[in-house]
């Protein structure tokens, strides 16, 4: 592999990962506060449509991006109103919303389907883009790469290093304990759900305005929201690990495209589904580590504990509770 080819691959992976990173970060914020937003897939698609329509109407892709974030926040608002205020199961509402938003995106977007529209283009930060290897990939291509990397730093700092972040994590870990310390749990969850939806909306906008420019049926970002849900689990609900998870899955997809010639027809289909078996295995491994049988065995044979990969951390307490409640 030549140096140029490697640099191009690296840039392609960063580019493909950008929206995945944002969507997964959005879900991380939401789940860290204890709200499972199953509507991700529909949200991303609806926001992609909204962002493209707004960008086309206004002629400015950046306004379009804001429109996408707004659409994502709106979907999250519906989820929050039904799940947190009306007391419906957030799993059920999220699932219905994901189907509803997908169909709504196709229906409302019919008018702008296969129409020309603006896109975010590329941006070259002077001096920085001259850094070898990393420069062109980060500072010399689509601005979504920079936005996504900045978002990772911002979300990590907000979640792990600030007081609001601490409150957010406390709410997700144990709503009851947080409430007894005087935190308005519902309010925190409401805001986090909205913020998470807005980030997912931003991800949708990145798809239709940069990564897969344009709108049509199919747009090309179908399934991205589900992959983001898988990545959150893979990343153990930790922002930086989640971002690495997104890069990992984007790398798998780019590899699929790169191998298209070697395995015609097959590679696309097979590499698209790769995140899902990995998600299941990750969950299995995480839960296995926690099982009493494994702990017993690891106590007797310490090597076992070292061999078993520490793939991910645990789910926030409220998320586990919500899954256990079921319907």
């Amino acid at each position: 592999m030549t140096y140029d080819y490697a640099a191009a691959l690296f840039a392609a992976v960063l580019f493909a990962a950008a929206p995945l990173i944002l969507a997964a970060l959005g879900e991380t914020i939401s789940e860290r506060a204890g709200v499972i937003n199953l509507s991700m897939d529909g949200t991303v698609l609806l926001a992609a449509m909204a962002a493209f329509a707004v960008a086309r109407a206004s002629g400015n892709p950046w306004i379009g991006l804001v429109g996408g974030a707004g659409a994502g926040a709106l979907v999250a608002l519906v989820l929050a109103v039904f799940g947190l205020l009306l007391g419906a199961s957030e799993l059920a509402v999220g699932f219905v919303l994901t189907l509803f938003c997908r169909e709504l995106a196709y229906f409302m977007g019919h008018g702008v389907a296969r129409q020309p529209g603006p896109d975010l283009g590329s941006l070259s930060v002077p001096v920085m883009s001259d850094i070898p290897f990393v420069g062109p990939a980060v500072f010399g291509q689509s601005p979504v790469v920079l936005v996504s990397l900045a978002a990772v730093a911002a979300v990590w700092w907000l979640l792990m290093r600030t007081r609001p972040g601490l409150v957010l994590r406390a709410v997700g870990e144990s709503p009851k304990a947080a409430a007894s310390r005087g935190v308005t749990v519902k309010k925190v969850q409401f805001l986090c759900c909205l913020a998470g939806g807005a980030l997912a909306g931003l991800a949708g906008g990145m798809y239709s305005l940069s990564v897969k420019p344009g709108w049509g049926h199919p747009q090309g970002c179908e399934g991205a929201g589900w992959i983001a849900l898988a990545i959150v689990i893979f990343g153990g609900w930790k922002p930086v690990r989640v971002a690495f998870g997104a890069l990992f899955f984007a790398a798998i997809q780019v590899a699929g495209i790169a191998l298209q010639d070697a395995l015609p027809g097959l590679s696309g289909a097979l590499f698209q589904i790769a995140p899902f078996p990995v998600m299941i295995v990750t969950l299995l491994v995480v839960n296995l580590r926690r099982s009493t049988a494994f702990r017993e065995a690891a106590r007797r044979v310490p090597l076992l504990g070292h061999l078993m990969p520490k793939t991910a951390g645990g789910a926030p307490g409220a998320v586990v509770g919500a899954l256990d409640r079921g319907f």
């Binding site: 419906a88 699932f95 169909e103 229906f107 097979l270 589904i273 299941i280 839960n287």
Partner: protein, 346 residues
């Protein structure tokens, strides 16, 4: 689970609110609201051909709806139905393309075996999800979702790879099966009547299972209090696996019917969203067995009717899904306004 009078204002409110939201969406999309609804209704019920197409959509919906009632009764979030349908279709196609219509077994037996293999395929796929839940503590939402995509990938791989048509791989599906291995059709119509009959029979069996048997009783005991059910020796894990197996078998049967009775070949995304739509139908019926066939029928009319939209009004056919989602969401809201009535699902 008996329908009560108290449900009527709730249902009425949900319907009216859904109609209102739908009209709003239509106006926002710049579509003529009334003629759009008229086109959908006509497309779903307006002619004999339309009625047959509606029946063809109703069949997998009712099969999967009945299947989901079993897992709902055990409080399982089985969103893996889509993959279970796909596996059923793959296994049925796998058997039928290997079967020799000329010699060996009579065609009827081949077909029965094909349907059986379909059911087994769905069962295995659901059981995988169930075992991951009971023995691996992986929630069925994530395993089901993941397995849906894996099943879709597998069917694509088969269509473009090992089962591709001689000479060329095509997204239009595999080679069509010989006509002897189609489920019998009435007078050359595109769809077999065996499917709907199987669906109604399966629905009746599920209703009997849930309402009249000890097994049905234990499922609701497991749902309401898993700890107490364990103490009573009801073995929740075994019940969960059994519920998953029954659900998967019915969903697999739906996939097999789609192959043997409608498409006569394996096509990409053969499950056609029926697995997801059936979840909406069950949610709309609020877990009530009596309301489920109505909900499935209504959704089938919407789905088939919407196919006319691009032709008559240049609108996207996804309006059916929009209306289905709006209906279920308004029902959730209505439940808040009139809480505490009937309905199996919380």
């Amino acid at each position: 689970m008996t329908p009560r009078l108290g449900m009527l204002p709730r249902a009425g409110f949900a319907l009216l609110a859904a109609l209102g939201v739908t009209l709003l969406i239509l106006v926002a999309a710049g579509a003529p609201p009334l003629s759009t609804l008229a086109v959908m209704l006509d497309g779903g019920l307006g002619s004999q051909a339309a009625l047959l197409r509606t029946l063809a959509a109703f069949t997998p919906l009712l099969l999967c709806g009945a299947a989901l009632c079993v897992t709902f009764a055990a409080n399982l979030w089985n969103i893996g139905v889509e993959g279970q349908i796909t596996l059923g279709a793959i296994c049925c196609q796998g058997y039928l393309r290997a079967a020799d219509p000329g010699g060996g077994l009579p065609a009827a037996l081949d077909l029965a075996l094909g349907l059986g293999f379909g059911a087994l395929g769905g069962l295995a796929w659901a059981l995988l999800s169930g075992v991951l839940r009971t023995h691996g503590r992986v929630h069925e939402i994530f395993s089901g979702l993941g397995l849906n995509f894996v099943a879709m990938g597998a069917s694509l791989w088969l269509i473009l790879g090992p089962w591709k048509r001689p000479g060329m791989a095509s997204m239009s599906g595999t080679e069509t099966l010989p006509a002897e291995l189609w489920l019998p059709t009435l007078g050359g119509r595109p769809m077999s009547t065996v499917g709907p009959i199987l669906a109604v029979a399966a629905f009746a069996a599920v209703a009997w299972l849930l309402r009249r048997t000890f097994f049905g009783l234990t499922l609701s005991a497991v749902r309401q209090n898993p700890l107490a059910a364990t103490r009573l020796g009801l073995r929740p894990k075994a019940r969960i696996l059994a519920a998953m197996a029954i659900c998967g078998a019915l969903a697999g049967l739906a996939g097999a019917v789609l192959v043997a009775g409608l498409y006569h070949r394996l096509i990409p995304s053969i499950s056609g969203n029926y697995g997801y739509t059936a979840i909406l139908a069950v949610l709309l019926a609020s877990g009530s067995l009596a309301a489920l066939p109505l909900a499935c029928l209504f959704f089938a009319v919407l789905t088939v009717g919407s196919i006319q939209l691009p032709l008559s009004l240049t609108l996207d056919s996804s309006l059916a899904g929009v209306i289905q989602g709006v209906l279920v969401l308004t029902l959730f809201a209505a439940r808040r306004v009139w809480p505490g009535h009937g309905g199996g699902a919380k």
